[in-house]
Symmetry: C2
Subunit: 345 residues, 2 copies
């Protein structure tokens, strides 16, 4: 079922993305034990814990991504997914759910990694995707999104206006609006990062996550919690949310330099903010905010270490410098590829 | 030991890349049974079958790449490696060997995926890499290679002249020349593709491989042969080498349009040619040559199917149209990413 994180009301597992009270929703199921399907080395490994039927899964299975241990830091290479970011995990489960529900058309309003992921997966799954974007979006990105067959709707105005137009179009045409910020099935995909970390390296002391809308931060926590509730693990990691200066939603908002380099987490008011506050508190974690200069430095270091990632991925690594790290173990997911998509080939 | 493929002479496992008779070398070891290290989901899974010591392995472990089944074709997503191509498998084993032998400096003469892979892995492994390239190489590529810390040597002249200068520099300065075309350890990395295919989908009827220098074609065959010799499998796949028109070394050389789009396999005279002929014969396989127009078409189709790959990867898929495919099963490795590397970030 789906449970509201605010008023606890429950719903059937359909395509609802918000409670009637406007609270955000999570999928809730009870699992008795952790038994991965060991013959798979991709997300099908965790099929018993995904709220979808195997026959609706897209054929483009996100892999078990590798981990790299460098001193006391374990990097999780979440940029080695088919469209270059961890978003493929959420898209994979979402597309399976859409196919199960026989939904052939959706509306979204993102122009980043999530949109690229949905554009690719929906194209070969015969789902028509309307993507609402701001007229400020770079032409290359628009051309790329349309080259995958997505229907672009270009809106004059800021991010909020784009959102309003998407919702309006969705209502007027009776096509589901499926923001990945709200979509509970998206988190069912990202939670598998925690399952993999557990299988690969056990439970670390800290998980340090670039955090904007929270799709990865909340997903990882949900995965570890489920393992805990199944009795598979006996302790939980401390969750550290790393944000971009000027766009903080959990840390104190800074007025100085804005970190526009980490554009993937430049989300000042995410709808799942209260859930994230609770996770930080429950896990005994914290929030750290990172500026642009430090992000750039960290990115250069990551590149030299062999990790070809995008700037947003670098904030979590940058955050480690603020820890007394002696004897502590950190897992840092590297969220998006530094390889760039082009529409021409 | 290393065994010459031409005169059968054997050598110790040092950094030799050719026999005294100028024949090419392969690593030869006897394995009694196939027992992957199941706790790993990356190349360490096959450590018992790699001629290197675990403690010298780089931390950037190539993953078990996912497979995607589309009708009767199983795509193996070899573009989801840390530097965007299957070459990381060969580099991974090679760098471990260099570290074991305490070699701190090497010379290579490639500017493609193999050079990018070696530049990245050698940089964080503290191995100085001299890359000899033609002055015709695109500036962006040069800038990229040097951004990883590789020492570039720009040579006026064609590919052959570049090779000569690299060998000359290597001799004069007593630095090992390590062409991946000849390097036997490189194939010890690429052979793991076969192990993974076997674990993921069993032994297919056909493996259809883009083939220039043969580092993937020969590696895959070697992997299946080893499984066969261990008694793990009882039959072998037919090996299909797919080449680019105008650059054929195994198929009949065509005089019509040259397929310059598939630049990764534009290698008209590879040193391991005789080995490849033998594999085609022994496996009851064949060679198919693909033109540029068909490559472009296949690339567009792959893109729409969700596979963001480079043109060289598309030739193998294009080749399938020349088969009567009813009831047959094909594995097609998709070799390199369509995401492009940039030197600026």
């Amino acid at each position: 079922m789906l449970r509201c994180t605010k008023c606890n009301r429950v719903y059937e597992e359909d395509l609802r993305i918000q409670c009637e009270c406007e609270g955000t929703l999570l999928v809730e199921r009870k699992y008795s034990s952790f038994a991965p399907q060991r013959r798979y080395f991709d997300m099908r490994r965790y099929l018993p814990y995904l709220p979808v039927n195997e026959r609706f899964l897209p054929y483009l299975h996100p892999p078990v991504t590798p981990v790299s241990k460098v001193k006391n830091v374990i990097f999780k290479l979440e940029y080695l997914h088919p469209t270059g970011s961890f978003k493929d995990r959420g898209t994979y489960v979402t597309v399976a759910k859409l196919k199960e529900l026989k939904i052939k058309e959706i509306v979204i309003d993102s122009s980043g990694n999530a949109a690229i992921s949905m554009a690719v997966y929906s194209a070969f799954s015969n789902i028509r995707t309307h993507i609402f974007v701001s007229s400020n979006t770079r032409k290359e990105k628009l051309s790329l999104l349309s080259s995958f067959g997505a229907e672009l709707h270009i809106v004059e105005g800021d991010r909020m206006k784009v959102h309003e137009e998407a919702v309006k179009y969705s209502r007027e045409n009776n096509i589901p609006y499926l923001s990945h910020w709200l979509n509970p099935y998206f988190l069912e995909g990202t939670k598998t990062v925690a399952y993999e970390i557990y299988e690969q390296v056990g439970v670390p002391e800290y998980v340090v996550v670039p955090t904007g809308s929270g799709t990865l931060f909340i997903g990882i926590w949900k995965g570890f919690k489920e393992l805990f509730e199944m009795g598979e693990i006996s302790r939980l990691p401390k969750m550290i949310a790393v944000q971009a200066k000027g766009f903080e939603s959990l840390c104190k908002r800074s007025n100085s330099e804005a970190n526009v380099l980490a554009d993937g987490i430049a989300i000042p008011n995410p709808p799942r903010k209260e859930e994230m506050f609770r996770i930080i508190k429950e896990s005994n974690g914290s929030c750290i905010s990172i500026g642009e200069r430090v992000t750039r430095q960290a990115l250069t270091e990551l590149y030299r270490m062999g990790f070809i990632v995008e700037p947003t991925s670098a904030v979590a690594y940058a955050a480690l410098k603020f820890f007394e790290d002696e004897g502590k173990s950190f897992v840092v997911p590297l969220t998006g590829s530094g390889l760039k998509l082009h529409s021409s080939f």
